[in-house]
């Protein structure tokens, strides 16, 4: 499989981190274990380890982001790397320099790692195909395709909340699956970790064709979908979905798919509620749930730093500059 070889070195170690698909369960476990070891670093008064000292990491963001970019930046700094943040308005590149030219110019500055975000699916794969052999690429989100560090921080959060045995868990993802890179990566990661049951809940306009083929049970009714769930993951509903003919409006969405304390009682008593953020209060989630005892939304953010430290350090660990495609 070419996809696997793009991400994984000959010795089985991580080279790029582009999508969950193409990785194996052992690597995911290694990421989670490594993240666990880094989780303590952020809690110390001196929040730094010297693992990536002297390395240069470029956060190359073609799409606006606050949370993801900030946590990547903090993760890199806590690993003692030098970090450069470059925010490029995608529309300006379409007028001038091509993506490849942008990349070549940055490479000429001897960069060791790119953390990339782009609105087009496949961008991180494209970049990974074209970087120098010693450069690693971490996908911080590409189109609707993949957001693997988000998925791994979610797996990390679930493991901390529920323990390492995913086999006994029922996890339900609610919301706009069609346009969600987070959902795709979560589904892949949950299945790779042998989760007992993965469900998605959404109206049909927010479900992509053949979603069952990713290994999920599809529900159109929230109460059916979250019944006895151990974990409920809510997705952000973009306002633009209300502009076209995708949804009639926020009101009906909230009435049918918004998570409230009332319908939360259908899930397991110790259910964990997650959301990749930023949340829309009163749209996909009621404030009482978002701020309530089941919510781990802020822990997710904290865990994001440890997971991103883990992925970055693993991809750079065997960074010998040898081409091994």
């Amino acid at each position: 499989m070419r996809k696997a070889s793009l991400q994984i070195r000959k010795d089985g170690r991580l080279r790029h981190f582009l999508s969950i698909e193409g990785l194996n369960a052992a690597l995911l476990q290694e990421i989670l274990d490594t993240a666990e070891s880094f989780a303590g670093v952020s809690a110390q008064s001196i929040k730094k380890v010297p693992l990536l000292r002297g390395k240069t990491i470029v956060n190359l963001f073609f799409e606006p982001s606050t949370r993801t970019r900030t946590t990547f930046e903090l993760a890199a700094k806590r690993l003692s790397a030098d970090v450069l943040n470059i925010n490029i308005n995608a529309s300006s590149t379409s007028k001038g320099e091509t993506l490849l030219d942008t990349l070549r110019n940055l490479e000429a500055m001897h960069v060791d790692m790119f953390v990339t975000r782009h609105s087009l699916s496949g961008t991180s794969h494209f970049i990974a195909h074209h970087v120098e052999p010693h450069v690693s690429v971490i996908n911080a989100g590409d189109g609707w395709h993949s957001h693997p560090t988000q998925a791994m921080l979610d797996m990390f959060t679930i493991r901390r909340e529920k323990g390492a045995d995913f086999g006994r868990l029922t996890v339900t993802i609610v919301g706009d699956i069609s346009h969600s890179r987070v959902a795709r990566s979560q589904i892949n990661a949950l299945n790779l970790l042998n989760t007992g049951e993965v469900r998605v809940v959404a109206p049909r306009t927010l479900l992509p064709a053949g979603i069952e083929s990713l290994g999920v049970h599809v529900h159109h009714n929230l109460r059916d979908g979250i019944k006895d769930a151990d974990v409920i993951i809510l997705l952000r509903l973009q306002n633009e979905r209300m502009l076209g003919a995708t949804l009639p409006g926020k009101h009906e969405y909230y009435r049918l798919f918004g998570l409230t304390n009332d319908n939360l009682s259908i899930a397991k008593p110790d259910v964990t509620v997650m959301h990749p953020g930023p949340i829309n209060r009163g749209v996909e989630i009621d404030s009482q749930v978002a701020d309530g005892p089941h919510s781990v939304i802020l822990q997710q953010v904290t865990n994001g730093i440890a997971v991103r430290m883990a992925v970055m350090s693993m991809a750079m660990q065997h960074n010998t500059g040898e081409e091994d495609v």
Binding site: R2, K3, L6, E21, T98, L99, L100, H118, L120, S121, G122, T123, H125, F126, H130, D142, G143, W144, H145, S146, R181, R184, P208, A209, G210, I211, S213, L214
Partner: protein, 432 residues
């Protein structure tokens, strides 16, 4: 090039589906036409004799609705480069699309294309004119003037028409002059922004999908409008099983429609788009396995009477970007003959049927006098070695565009000579 050379092509296997001929024989050419088949006419003295022993002799191929990129996109390819490529691949007639820049909506552009093709003096080129001004889908083009300038049909290429009313009027106006309307069936609102067949692969890769319905809805509507208007519509590059079934049904009902499909859709599916390889980015997209099989069945059963290459040469940069940002299409002239013949190896078509889909089929649809080699026929001829394997590579590709998902595939048919109007326009010994 000398005028009216007299040629003898001896001991080749002549396969001419239009005349139901498949035999080892001789062809005698004079004044650009087939003078005799079999026995040498009394007093015939050849200026040149081609020993075709072990070679297959067929009518020159006709490829419909190719992109030659000139005028306007000469950084991708030129009429000169692609006509040379066509000649090297046994293609003697090219029908080019109207979506050049400027578009083919005035006689001047038709004339420019013809002039450039005549300068190269390789394959013959006909233009299909724009159906609407500037291909903007709103006002009708001056179709009569385009026809007088030499256009053999009209099309809006892959640009949408503003409404069903514009489509209706355009079909009516075109049929006034007996012009075939070439339609790429697509309901634009359904396909907009999509870049891959809507299905599990697009879902997995997070790519915006193009649903099957974007094609079937358009085909259904246009068949209804053909019935209403009496126009002749040729559906280009059909990709779905269901759309083809509708076309087949309409043909059975004597509604004046026909259809073709292109080479990549006969061999590849959306599943091949693994790892975001932009060489698999086509519009219309590669469809499902079931669609591919449906096209193959339709081809074998005759609902599809012609195969085209779907030629869209690109400069390398056009394919060097994230998948959705790349330009769609493959460079197809180099693989039209060998991959069509592969359908024979696959057991789908007889050799004669396969050759018919590249010669007799398009000639009949276009109402052109080419594509057959009876006595008195225009001597457009392709002579190839059916048993000389070669690998498709950057070096073997004659097209300026090297964008193809078939790179590295083994091909069998190797073109030795191409003749147009009785003139040798390609000889593998000299020209490669």
């Amino acid at each position: 090039m000398s005028e009216s050379i007299r040629l003898a092509i001896e001991d080749g296997r002549l396969i001419d589906p239009a005349n139901n001929r498949d035999e080892i024989t001789n062809l005698y050419i004079a004044d650009g036409k087939v003078l005799a088949i079999g026995k040498k006419p009394d007093g015939f003295r050849a200026d040149q004799t081609i020993n075709a022993t072990g070679l297959t002799v067929i009518p020159g191929l006709i490829d419909t609705l190719v992109h030659l990129r000139e005028p306007g996109h000469e950084h991708k390819a030129t009429i000169d480069s692609e006509c040379r490529c066509a000649a090297a691949n046994g293609i003697t007639t090219l029908i080019c699309r109207p979506d050049t820049s400027p578009v083919v909506d005035t006689p001047a552009v038709v004339e420019l294309i013809r002039h450039q093709a005549q300068l190269t003096a390789k394959s013959r080129v006909f233009s299909v004119g724009a159906l609407t001004r500037g291909l903007k889908g709103e006002q009708l083009s001056e179709m009569a003037a385009l026809q007088e300038a030499g256009c053999i049909g009209v099309s809006n290429a892959q640009q949408p028409l503003a409404s069903s009313l514009v489509t209706r009027r355009a079909l009516e106006y075109a049929s006034t002059f007996g012009l075939t309307v070439f339609v790429y069936p697509d309901d634009h609102a359904l396909s907009e922004k999509g870049c891959l067949h809507e299905g599990p692969v697009a879902t997995r890769l997070g790519l915006p999908g193009i649903p099957e319905a974007s094609e079937t809805v358009a085909v259904a509507r246009d068949i209804a409008l053909v019935e209403q208007t009496g126009a002749h519509v040729h559906f280009c590059n059909i990709t779905t099983r269901r759309a083809l079934r509708m076309v087949g049904r309409a043909m059975f009902d004597n509604i004046s429609v026909s259809a073709d499909c292109s080479i990549p859709h006969l061999f590849l599916t959306d599943v091949d788009t693994r790892n975001f390889d932009s060489n698999y980015h086509l519009i219309p997209p590669l469809r499902s396995q079931s669609d591919r099989d449906g096209l193959r069945t339709g081809l074998a059963e005759g609902a599809i009477s012609l195969i085209c290459s779907g030629h869209q040469p690109h400069e390398p940069d056009a394919k060097l970007a994230p998948f959705p940002a790349t330009e769609p299409g493959i460079s197809g002239l180099d693989t039209l003959l060998p991959l069509t013949l592969r359908l024979v190896d696959d057991g789908l078509l007889s050799l004669s049927q396969a050759i018919s889909r590249l010669t007799e089929g398009p000639a009949k649809m276009l109402n052109l006098p080419y594509g057959q080699l009876g006595e008195g026929a225009i001597a457009d001829i392709c002579i190839f070695n059916p048993k000389k394997p070669w690998i498709l590579s950057h070096n073997t590709m004659q097209s300026r565009g090297k964008n193809t998902p078939f790179m590295g595939w083994e091909m069998n048919a190797h073109v030795r000579y191409t003749l147009r109007d009785g003139q040798i326009i390609f000889n593998a010994e000299n020209d490669l």
